[in-house]
Symmetry: C2
Subunit: 353 residues, 2 copies
């Protein structure tokens, strides 16, 4: 299906103080799904405008909503590149399947992302650490109170110019382990990028903030024993002889940055494992001096070094000022590839002509 | 705060074939929350119309959305009555707290429901088994991609005339136990009426439908051993010497009909318990002849008798045609109170003058 471009004039105004996810570009991609008309309808790119949507739309009541997040970068030679967008499209369709939302043609979805970025490319900030955040999402729009999958959906892509996640530089963050709330459970929706997963975690995040912690590290919901993921990031633990990350057990989001970090660590001949990691093991390794550093991985911050990890009465203290060595190395490598400063050996970047 | 009524003219058209939750009345209640303006703003009742909402509204991305469901009945003497609406308001605020949504003044919320029903009262169908379904809900409306509680919300109430849940009469339904998916887990969002909980269950419901079952009976997420609830209902098991329902463990929705059924059973001197009920106990009691009947409770159907319960290779077969005795008795009592045919000893009904 060809994407019809209804409007393409841009009027770029990027404010000096760029708050994450508050500024949007001129255009959106939109495609409607209508079961009574045989599925996905004509894809269009049009002016960013408010949606006109019934208050009885099913997304507001039964939460059928999934999303993705990825970025486009203006590289040092001026080319525009996206980091592994095909992985996001793949995960979007997996999330769709779990949440009973119809899947999209992955080729069309990828083309939609690229075409929209092409049209709004002047919105990509060029300052170091800046990029264009891309937010594809799908929502149920049928007007109905029956509890069943919607017959109508919207697949929309929005673009938002963003600054570096840590404006003052790559600074480590304090994280708190919670066993008061859980985010997800195996056989649930944790491995889907479903809107409801994020709402579920807000309360724990707010309570952590009150105690001075930036994010929450979730434990598995069944035994409350194994670490799972951090807020909007996957987590890695560097032991003396191993770099470990929780295995994808069904309740953990399979992050694209996580996947890429695993590859880089293998390239660099680290002993990398995906396995169950108990919080007890983390605490004891710290006490024994076998734990070198902890970092999170995600699209927004790329790498987040952990300054401090709190679990009940245990405080694992790392440097408050200086990010960990491996975290910095990974950050430099990944952002180097993303901004075209380092060779892209794995062919991770997709370019826009 | 006074509710401003911007429009009150009604134009009642109730179609002959009334599909659940597809027809809406003329008016809606709406109140906006704006953190920057000190909280909840002016409450209004206005014409039902589409929402004009940003595609970047947080409800579409991070799923902060909760709802309630209750009914108004036109009673046999012509009075209009609601069933325990204060309980729904109470639960709405509990759901709000869990999902990091600001709570509303319960008096105002109750008055909003009553005033809206008063204005659209001609929409309440008078045929036996018909009623006016009331759907209060709250959604996050701030335009932002940051993962944090929204600074803006809408609290909306919609009304929808509905027919009897089982148009062909009170017929038992086949139910399948799933251990392939889970709905919720303790310390999660299961006891909140959060939109995301419903999206999470759709896939299991669809798979059950394919095998000829109407609904899914969920097991606890931790041990996959204890029964929790059915689709949009709580569940009761009548053993020979006991009527039992799963205790509110944190992952089960505290149903208003559940609460009322517990009261009626106590009034009638049944041995009623709220406790852990393993699926194994249910299967064995059936085999031993100690299980008399199973029924679900919920606002939409009031009571749903179970004709058949499937758990792996076990099929517990009850009558396909005839609802269980206790189920019928409870259905008659509850609908009798709701339609004003039976004395309301507990003062459950709230009347609209």
């Amino acid at each position: 299906m060809n994407i019809e471009v209804l409007e393409k004039e841009t009027n770029v105004i990027i404010p000096e103080n760029l708050v994450f996810g508050k500024v949007f570009t001129d255009h959106v991609f939109e495609m409607d799904y209508d079961a009574s008309k045989g599925g996905w309808q004509k894809p269009v790119i049009k002016k960013f405008e408010k949606l006109n949507i019934s208050p009885a739309a099913m997304v507001f009541h039964y939460g059928q909503a999934i999303f993705e997040g990825l970025k486009a970068y203006k590289q040092v030679d001026g080319r525009i590149a996206l980091f592994r967008p095909e992985k996001n499209v793949e995960r979007l369709n997996k999330s769709a399947a779990r949440m009973s939302i119809p899947q999209v043609d992955p080729k069309l979805a990828l083309e939609a992302i690229l075409e929209l970025v092409r049209i709004d490319q002047d919105w990509i900030p060029t300052k170091p650490g800046y990029s264009l955040y891309i937010r594809p999402f799908m929502i149920a729009t049928e007007e109905c109170f029956g509890v069943r999958p919607s017959d109508n959906y919207k697949f929309i892509i929005l673009l938002s110019p963003v600054g570096p996640y840590y404006p003052e530089g790559f600074k480590p963050v304090p994280i708190m382990v919670t066993d008061k709330y859980v985010r997800a459970v195996r056989k649930g929706t944790g491995e889907a990028k479903a809107a409801g997963n994020y709402a579920a975690g807000l309360i724990a995040q707010a309570e952590a903030k009150k105690e001075g912690y930036t994010q929450v590290l979730w434990l598995d919901a069944v035994e409350q024993k194994y670490i799972e993921e951090v807020g909007a990031m996957n987590i890695f633990i560097q032991f003396k002889d191993e770099v470990a990350t929780p295995m994808l057990s069904g309740s953990i989001l399979p992050g694209v940055t996580r996947m890429s970090v695993l590859q880089l660590l293998k390239d660099w001949n680290y002993n990398v494992t995906e396995r169950l990691i108990s919080i007890q093991e983390v605490v004891e390794s710290y006490k024994n001096g076998n734990l070198l550093e902890i970092f999170g991985t995600g699209t927004a911050a790329v790498i987040s070094s952990v300054s401090k990890l709190k679990y009940n009465n245990n405080i694992l203290q790392f440097s408050d000022e200086q990010a960990g060595e491996l975290g910095i190395k990974l950050y430099e490598e990944l952002t180097g590839i993303q901004y075209g400063k380092i060779e892209d050996k794995h062919g991770w970047m997709t370019y826009i002509d």
